[in-house]
């Protein structure tokens, strides 16, 4: 009896060994780790050892499915992202049709088996207060409104379903038109009257001029809970925060792809503003042009926030329109790469879904198709509807 077993083991093993010895040598060490065998010196020396170890694969083959359990790999997080409200209804002291709250996450992005995000990420469409060079695939959707921010905002809300509008006051740039704060504030007022969604107020990137404009705009839009985009390290932070605080706005804390700088700037802001009035932006780079870095900084920021880092517990915003900085998005290329009417918006879409999975709560975007797609994806991710495996059960045999 014992002898018979021995022989069977030997035969099985021989089978296995023959099989493995056909594999390239590099693969061998992969395999014998599993088998817990030492193959180097050939079968005879191996045999006694193998018998002693009796790896499971030498046992009888199963004849029915061996049941295994599965429990969701849930983790606990000591931290939570703060919720930030943007826009204000009449009751909240403003004039918006509705306000929008973002943030509040208790789990990494779309770990639906843990805690689904309490507030869906939202999309704000870019509107510029003066004509700017735009990529052709984008421009074609806004041709009639390029010189009219009010009409542009209406179009973005009515036709393209914008949750919010980002009004970029680029004309205030001393290098562009050097529009005065009063004039800029007038444009803001007009847009406020034309649409009833919450607004992001975008500056021109000049820390001095932006501050002057923010102060004026904050005042005329008192109570509207704008997002002032953005407050940077070289700005007079105390003044910027004072304007936001006095008139009830939120600020966007913008830093260049560096977590320590993000923490530092947030820390400085805490001296003047409650956490619930701060959203952060760690910089968005386009797909192919640094998206990897942008993605990882955001992913790390969000994980750190959940692990309890108090200085990163803010909703994140992304200037996803930056995707259009990629040549592959806007340039005419060899026909094999398809027309830019597709390539451009898919570039923005891929940039957006990637950052969605890194934890972005607020997307500033441009192309209507990218906006619609991201909206659909967000809706499906947050709908709580169960998957429909039966629909794909036969994908292999489906004729396309």
């Amino acid at each position: 009896m014992a002898e018979k077993e021995n022989k069977e083991d030997f035969l099985n093993l021989l089978n296995l060994l023959t099989k493995f010895q056909e594999i390239e040598l590099e693969d061998v060490e992969m395999e014998f780790g599993d088998l817990e065998l030492w193959l180097q010196s050939g079968i005879p020396t191996v045999l006694p050892k193998a018998k002693r170890l009796a790896p499971p694969s030498l046992k009888a083959k199963p004849t029915s499915i061996l049941q295994a359990r599965f429990t969701s790999p849930i983790e606990e997080y000591p931290g939570q992202v703060v919720e930030v409200r943007l826009g204000a209804t009449k009751n909240e002291g403003g004039t918006r049709g509705k306000s929008i709250t973002i943030g509040g996450e208790k789990s990494p992005p779309f770990y639906l088996f843990e805690t689904p995000p309490p507030n869906p990420p939202i999309i704000s469409l870019d509107v510029f207060d003066t004509k700017i060079p735009l990529a052709k695939p984008v421009k074609m959707h806004f041709n009639e409104v390029l010189e009219d921010p009010v009409a542009w905002a209406k179009l973005a809300v009515d036709k393209y379903g914008a949750d919010m509008i980002t009004l970029h006051l680029i004309s205030i740039d001393p290098l562009v038109k050097d529009t005065s704060p009063v004039e800029a504030a007038r444009t803001v007022e007009q847009v406020l009257q034309a649409v009833d969604v919450p607004l992001v107020i975008g500056g021109c990137g000049d820390p001095k001029k932006d501050l002057e404009v923010f102060e004026k705009v904050a005042e005329v839009g008192a109570g509207e809970r704008f997002l002032l985009s953005s407050v940077t390290q070289d700005m007079d932070i105390e003044r910027a925060c004072a304007a936001a605080k006095k008139h009830g706005h939120a600020v966007l804390s913008f830093t260049p792809m560096d977590l320590n700088q993000a923490r530092q700037l947030n820390r400085r802001l805490y001296d003047f503003l409650p956490k619930e009035q701060i959203i952060m932006d760690t910089t968005t780079a386009a797909l192919g042009y640094g998206l990897d870095y942008a993605f990882t900084i955001m992913e790390r920021a969000r994980l750190a926030a959940l692990m309890g880092d108090p200085e990163l517990q803010h909703p994140m915003s992304s200037g996803t329109t930056n995707a259009w900085a990629a040549r592959e998005a806007w340039k005419k290329m060899d026909p094999q790469w398809g027309s830019r009417e597709f390539r451009g918006p898919i570039w923005e879409t891929v940039t957006a879904v990637t950052l969605l999975l890194a934890g972005v709560d607020l997307f500033m975007m441009m192309h209507p198709a990218a906006v619609k797609t991201l909206k659909d994806v967000i809706m499906r991710l947050t709908s709580g509807k169960p998957g429909t495996p039966e629909k794909i059960a036969n994908w292999v045999t489906t004729k396309i």
Partner: protein, 477 residues
Amino acid sequence: MAEKEVKKPSIKEISPIDVYMLLPKTNCKECGEENCMAFATKLVNRELALEQCPPLLKKENEKAYKQLWEMLKPPIKEISIGAEKQTIKVGGKYVMYRHEFTYTNPTAIAIDITDEMSDEEVMERIKKTQEFSYIYIGNTLKLNMIAIRSTSNDPDKFKTTVKKVVENTTLPLILCSFDSKVLEAGLMVAPKARPLIYAATKDNWKDMAELALMYNCPLAIFAPNNIKLLRSLSKTLLEYGVKNLVLDPGTMAGEGIGDAINNFTMIRRAATKKGDELLGFPLIGTPITAWLENKDSPAEVAQWNEAYLAAILIDRYADLLILHSTEGWVLLPNVVLRQNIYTDPRKPVAVKPGMRAFGTPHENSPVMFTTNFALTYYTVASDIENAGVDSYLLVVDSEGIAVDCAVAGRKLTADKVAEAIKEAKIEEKVKHKKLIIPGKAARLSGEIEEASGWEVMVGPRDSSDIPKFLHEKWNQS
């Protein structure tokens, strides 16, 4: 096995000392390193493999070798697919998040062919898959595999198609059918190809396991939206002797996308963070299912959905993808995304700052500057080469960030530019003091003039216009 709840230290938790303790500690340098400690450090960083220490492979070190192998093996098993010398490796991941440790083995992308396509179509799709190529920061981005699906369910048809494909390409294959007879017919005409067999299900697992053993192939498990079943089948097949598995929890496009992402995420976490060996295998995603969701729409809709679904899966842990679209605009963003996600996450891809000469510049040649983000640099460099104008390019350290982001984030400042001009001693090389700056850095022009004392000319916003700019503006000035 595997059911036990032992937590294996993650790659980040293994210290070089732990590894060192198990090495021969003779400092014999046969590995080419100064000593065993140096070797241990490189092992932990995945720069060297265990087998590069010859003494460790000796019989007397067998135990230590095995211990080290166990300690260092990735929680996601690395699986090879394809005939000898044409294999592609998938999986082999050490971590969940890319910032923890550089991802290994970029997502393999397969394009499908069916056994009911015409010969011309089959050849056309092989050609497209094989010839796809895009140069990006010095890398050639390519597609990797062909997936042959039996839509006919007819063994003879499948056989003919597989034969045709094997005769015309050396790309690794995935053979797809849930009918073992059909699959066997395909395997018979590709006995050495070692394709990935797709797929074992709760109904056919035994026959598929036999095929996998007989033809020595890796085997995929398909258990849509059912991780418990996936785990059970994994357990069963491992017990059956099939060691190389690939897992498909189902790519539910459309409404089910939340569950699809959820499943991929749970599986990867269970394997990397909880040491679940039954789920420690590569994941396969099938964005091609977007075509099922959009059957009645124009092809572009399915292509569009497939494109972003593929991107989502590349972001969320897919090690293999099967796609149907061959359109450049669908594939390009995905191969670029894959390249992005699989680079070293610890630093942006940067080049060395400093002065570069193009052609044979002289004292009247133009001087331009750009940042040291690798992609920016290479793009600008190739555009200057195209211009065919002898010139200097000053590469300013922006910590590896592109011009527009660097200006916005103050990583590129007038002072940095002025300093770079000084350091490169350009004033000794040219007689003029005119600096051409990127259009996207226009906002810095005044400050640069002030800080450097050079006259600024604002160049084009995109470097592809450099040739035109130089010919029109520089030659006149």
